[in-house]
């Protein structure tokens, strides 16, 4: 259908527009709120064809219904009644919104940041699939394989001396027939889990959390592209750590001290309990402002990292969000402890604008 061509051209244009303003999309949070299953709604400015037209704000119009002068007339989009769609003539000024799939979004992210594809590690969970790729001596007539049947018959003729090149007639017998048969192929499938850990102690403000939210959204989009059925877990911690759901993760504001080791312990336990490392690709990300309670606890963290976490994960990402109150010491400690470990990826996130660079830090290695 020729409409497909037009649709593809339209999609190309949308992609182009998104790429053009990619930075804005990354740093603006509103689209994350408009998630619907596998799609995100993105406002795309200037994709409309410009025309001379009246400004809608001044125009007003004629409506029908109850009410008295001065009553607001609902412009709410959600209140459409059945059949109203046909009437059209909507005066509302809306930007063109385009649905775009996570997959496509991740692709654009990948192209923009030149991210390498992820090479899933280690052994994989297998999924079984039956395909007609084998040949068997028995089977239903519908699946008879002519070529191999003929070959068998020809072989028999030649070896028994019946074959006459002048009159190459081959008559197959029962035993010559061969049939297509199913063969079970084992398709490797990689499983992956992302564990987000966030410091929610008093020093992490709303702005810092927004950064974490945006960054984890994009990291998720990219990993989802590579792993079907990506699992996500969320841990928050101050002096103690607990596992929460996604909603709580981004909304909770606690206050109090910070014991990073509590979160690492929990993370280690979750991995040990539920995600055997030889079957899973494991990605822990820790976001913090870099303040830890004590040097003792930091030493404990390093120990857990070295013994319980690093051997099992694809990489460990530590993102340090700058905040007025944080000292940023923890990043330095990690640097000192893991000077040349490729699996320890450290990133400093100064402000929203730095999110893209930080994503590149984390995902640029292709692990």
């Amino acid at each position: 259908m020729s409409i497909r061509e037009d649709q593809n051209r339209f999609r190309d244009i949308v992609r182009g527009k998104i790429k053009e303003n990619f930075k804005d999309y990354v740093t603006h949070g509103e689209m994350i709120g408009k998630r619907e299953n596998d799609y995100v709604k993105i406002p795309v400015p200037y994709i409309d064809i410009p025309r001379f037209k009246y400004g809608p704000k001044q125009k007003g119009g004629v409506g029908q219904g109850e009410g008295k002068p001065g009553d607001p007339v609902g412009k709410g989009k959600g209140e459409k009644k059945p059949g109203e769609g046909k009437a059209g003539n909507e005066a509302g000024e809306h930007q063109v919104e385009v649905d775009i799939s996570f997959e496509e979004l991740a692709e654009i992210l990948g192209e923009e940041l030149e991210l390498p594809r992820i090479e899933p590690k280690g052994s994989k969970i297998a999924s079984e699939k039956n395909r007609y790729s084998g040949i068997a001596p028995v089977g239903p007539e519908g699946l008879r394989h002519f070529k191999s049947s003929y070959k068998r018959a020809l072989k028999r003729y030649i070896s028994s001396g019946l074959y006459d090149p002048e009159d190459p007639v081959i008559v197959p017998i029962r035993g010559d027939y061969r049939y297509r048969s199913t063969k079970t192929t084992i398709k490797p499938q990689a499983n992956a889990v992302v564990i987000y850990i966030m410091d929610v102690s008093g020093s992490m403000g709303n702005e810092q959390k927004e950064i974490v939210r945006l960054e984890s959204f994009w990291i998720n989009a990219w990993l989802k592209k590579h792993y079907k059925g990506l699992e996500t877990r969320f841990i928050i911690h101050d002096a103690t750590a607990r596992e929460v759901d996604e909603d709580t993760f981004f909304r909770t504001s606690e206050s109090g001290g910070t014991l990073i080791s509590s979160a690492y312990k929990l993370c280690r336990d979750i991995i040990q309990r539920e995600y055997p490392p030889h079957e899973w690709n494991i990605y822990p990300f820790h976001f913090s402002d870099g303040d830890n309670w004590s040097g003792d606890d930091t030493r404990l963290c390093m120990k857990i990292l070295k013994e319980g976490l690093m051997p099992n994960v694809n990489f460990f990402g530590y993102g340090q969000v700058e905040s007025k109150y944080g000292s940023g010491q923890f990043l330095k400690d990690l640097e000192k402890e893991f000077p040349s470990d490729e699996k320890m990826i450290l990133s400093k996130i100064k402000n929203k604008e730095a999110i893209l660079g930080s994503i590149k830090d984390f995902l640029g290695k292709g692990r």
Binding site: I3, P56, G65
Partner: protein, 501 residues
């Protein structure tokens, strides 16, 4: 796409006979059975199976198919003004819906054939559209897809700048036909198109034209509303560009009457489907489903003005008034409310009158003549406005004159600002001067900016638009790169300025 199944074909014949019996006069109508996906495709293409390639159709299709898949909307009916008429029915709709749609479609067909505003439209538009597509594809093959598509973008951004009344003015109508298929002015006629450049060299044609033209003549002589035609004749376009522009223009003219008669057309079709369905087509078991579908189409809403509803109610009102003789001098001079309420002369002219109205009127004249205060009150109509303070749309008034004025304003020029070409050598610098006929509503600034940029790309010289911004007269001057907003001086200001210098 397929023919109708036997049982629906039977129904179709019955409905057509019924429609003819009540006096509807239609072109032959071909019904096609389509899947929802095909329906969305045709709808994106404005009803036609073949259009020229452009991303805007893709965008429309994308929107329609998503909204269908999410269950937000569904297209019931689509009909094309063509001889024969084409109409689509969607597979899997209820039988009663299919019958309703068929009855509705016959209403539209009758309207297309008999309303005089549709008279100049191309009745072989199916073929013409396909030919347009071929021509544009050929240009794309020769000059590149991107090049042609971005030129189409430019043309589409000014496609509304036509003179909607031109086809009904005799001399203009001739002019239109003359320029329609001409893509190149030739001095010597012959049939090998590709040799044209050599036989009729460009500079020779220019020279000839210059000779014929009075150099002091202002172009255009009078303000020209058909901006597209003006650009076709006067902008420095390549042949293929001229051809593309002429295609966009002729499609724009084809669709114009549908915009001019939206209320009437939908009202007429709804009037007849309701009459035919309830009086003869429907069987008892279908009543509830029919009522449900009907209520859906005719739903009123506080902000969405529903042309189906207003149209059908107005036709019914007219029929009722002319049946009871509620028109003419005596009726309008009568001031006794009780007498007016009981007024019935048994004139019985209703049916005749609505057929006459369907023949002679368009939305503007229809509303102007038949919208009565009584009707406004009964249908709870009101005007809403945007309130700057609250940032909301609010109900403004229920006063009859205001409602009528707002409606007429919305309908005049199809609710589009009126823009004329004033001068093609503005300031004696070859700049184009356009004027916006200001009627109290300002044009949207950012859209105007982009449109002017497109016009400047076409004209290849700066383009000026006289309009009003923030309640002050201004000239928007676009040189292809940047937009400048220039104050328009009143006469006394201009004098003062001259004196100061």
């Amino acid at each position: 796409m397929g023919r109708l199944p036997a049982d629906l074909e039977e129904e179709r014949k019955r409905i057509r006979d019924l429609a003819e019996a009540v006096g509807l006069d239609c072109y032959d109508t071909v019904f096609e059975m389509v899947t929802y996906d095909q329906m969305n495709q045709f709808a994106a293409y404005g009803g036609f199976p073949v259009r020229y390639p452009h991303w805007k159709f893709g965008m429309e299709y994308d929107k329609l198919s998503k909204s269908y898949e999410y269950g937000l909307s569904k297209i019931y009916e689509m009909v094309i003004n063509n001889d024969p008429c084409y109409a689509y029915l969607m597979e899997g709709n209820r039988r009663v819906d299919q019958k309703l749609v068929m009855a509705h479609v016959y209403g539209h067909c009758d309207f297309f054939k008999n309303n005089k505003w549709f008279e100049p439209t191309d009745r072989k538009m199916m073929d013409t559209m396909a030919n347009h597509a071929t021509r544009i594809r050929r240009h794309m093959d020769r000059y590149g897809v991107d090049e042609v598509e971005s030129f189409i973008d430019i043309c589409l951004s000014i496609e509304n700048l036509i003179d909607r009344h031109a086809p009904y003015k005799p001399q203009k109508a001739n002019k239109k036909i003359e320029t329609e298929d001409r893509t190149r002015k030739s001095l010597l006629k012959f049939d090998r198109e590709y040799m044209d450049e050599y036989v009729n060299p460009e500079d020779r044609i220019k020279f000839k034209e210059e000779q014929e033209k009075d150099p002091m003549q202002k172009v255009p002589e009078k303000p020209e509303r058909d901006v597209l035609l003006f650009l076709m004749n006067h902008a420095p376009l390549k042949h293929w560009q001229q051809d593309v522009l002429s295609i966009i223009r002729s499609e724009s003219y084809y669709f114009a009457p549908q915009g001019m008669t939206k209320i009437m057309n939908e009202g007429w079709a709804s009037y007849w489907h309701s009459k035919l369905m309830t009086e003869s087509i429907m069987n008892d078991s279908e009543v509830i489903d029919y009522a449900d579908a009907c209520a859906g189409t005719l739903a009123m809403s506080p902000t969405g003005f529903n042309p189906y509803k207003v149209g059908i109610e107005l036709f019914r009102d007219i029929e009722d008034r002319w049946n009871k003789g509620r028109f003419g001098k005596e009726w309008s001079e009568c001031e006794d409310i009780a007498q007016k309420k009981a007024w019935d002369t048994h004139a019985g002219l209703g049916r005749e009158k609505i057929f006459e109205v369907r023949r002679d009127y368009n939305d503007v004249t229809f509303i102007d003549e038949f919208l009565t205060e009584d009707f406004c009150v009964r249908n709870k109509m009101f005007v809403y406005k945007h309130n700057k303070r609250t940032g909301q749309y609010e109900m403004d008034t229920r006063q009859f004159p205001a409602v009528k004025q707002q409606l007429l304003f919305q309908l005049t020029n199809f609710g589009q600002p009126i823009i004329n070409v004033e001068h093609s050598n503005f300031n004696n610098r070859g700049e184009l001067l356009l004027t916006h006929l200001f009627e109290g509503v300002e044009i949207q600034y950012n859209y105007a900016q982009e449109t002017l940029k497109n016009l400047a790309a076409l004209w290849r010289r700066p383009v000026n638009l006289v309009t009003v911004i923030d309640e002050k007269p201004k000239i928007l001057h676009h040189d292809g790169k940047d937009l400048k907003v220039i104050d328009v001086l009143t006469e006394s200001q201009a004098k003062a300025k001259a004196a100061a210098e």
